[in-house]
Amino acid sequence: MQVIAITSCATGVAHTYMAAEAIKKICKEKNYSCKVEMQGALGLENKLSPAEIENADLIVFANDIKVVKAERFDEYKDKIVKVKPHEVIQNPEIIFKNIVEG
């Protein structure tokens, strides 16, 4: 499974990077490929390409502020799961809540 995610938060320093790490960690444990775009105080880092967005099986929005350039995902709304950054940090499994395994 290919997972992509966008993380951001109010201050742009703590939750953005903790949530990114939490998502990468759970995907690694499950042997899923994963790329996380961070929209934090350091700017837009690790930007997702159109191909990566198109090929993703799951798109995680972990934000408590507006996603930058959200129109990139307009065609793939059915693949998006929206969570709060603090939720994914405390319970990373939450990103798979809409996925039926097997």
């Binding site: 320093v13 703590a14 939750h15």
Partner: protein, 156 residues
């Protein structure tokens, strides 16, 4: 991030490893904000506590796993910096609509201007480490500021 940068952002006098516990979140805010003022990361402790409390209204800084990462962004912050405190006994940390037991507190001070990106990168990297159980386990074993710097470097 280099060693110089870690020790600049996380200064020795802003690291306290053997506090018994705190009564509540307000007590730990006061204690660590005072340390950040002492090491001249913030100019005015009260202004910084106000910034911390403002951030609390936006959402929880309790992160589970005995960790809290209160953070404030304010003009009173001179340079991005971190204070760390480890408690012997956990206390109940209430934050936004959540509450939980906390033993490890990383308090981040973020300036209004985004000029000091190298420091911010240190803070961001530190935040990322906190989701790893092995890092938390290591926090429990360290006995000095120098050992804290070593485990942070190891995790980069």
């Amino acid at each position: 991030m280099g060693k110089v940068l870690i020790s600049n952002a996380l200064q020795k006098n802003a690291v306290v490893l053997n506090v018994d516990s705190f009564n509540d979140k307000e007590a730990v805010f006061d204690f660590l904000a005072d340390r950040l003022e002492q090491v001249q990361v913030v100019k005015n402790k009260d202004d910084f506590v106000a910034a911390l409390n403002y951030r609390e209204k936006l959402g929880p800084t309790y992160m589970g796993n005995f960790i809290a990462i209160p953070h404030g962004k304010s003009k009173t912050v001179v340079n991005p910096g971190v204070a760390f405190c480890r408690c012997r006994k956990p206390f109940i940390y209430k934050s936004a609509d959540t509450a939980g037991e906390v033993k490890y507190i990383f308090m981040l001070a973020i300036p209004e201007s985004q000029a000091a990106n190298d420091y911010l990168r240190v803070l961001a990297a530190l935040a990322g480490m906190l989701v790893h159980q092995e890092f938390i386990d290591a926090l429990e074993t360290i006995e000095s500021y120098e050992q804290l710097l070593l485990i942070i470097e190891k995790w980069q």
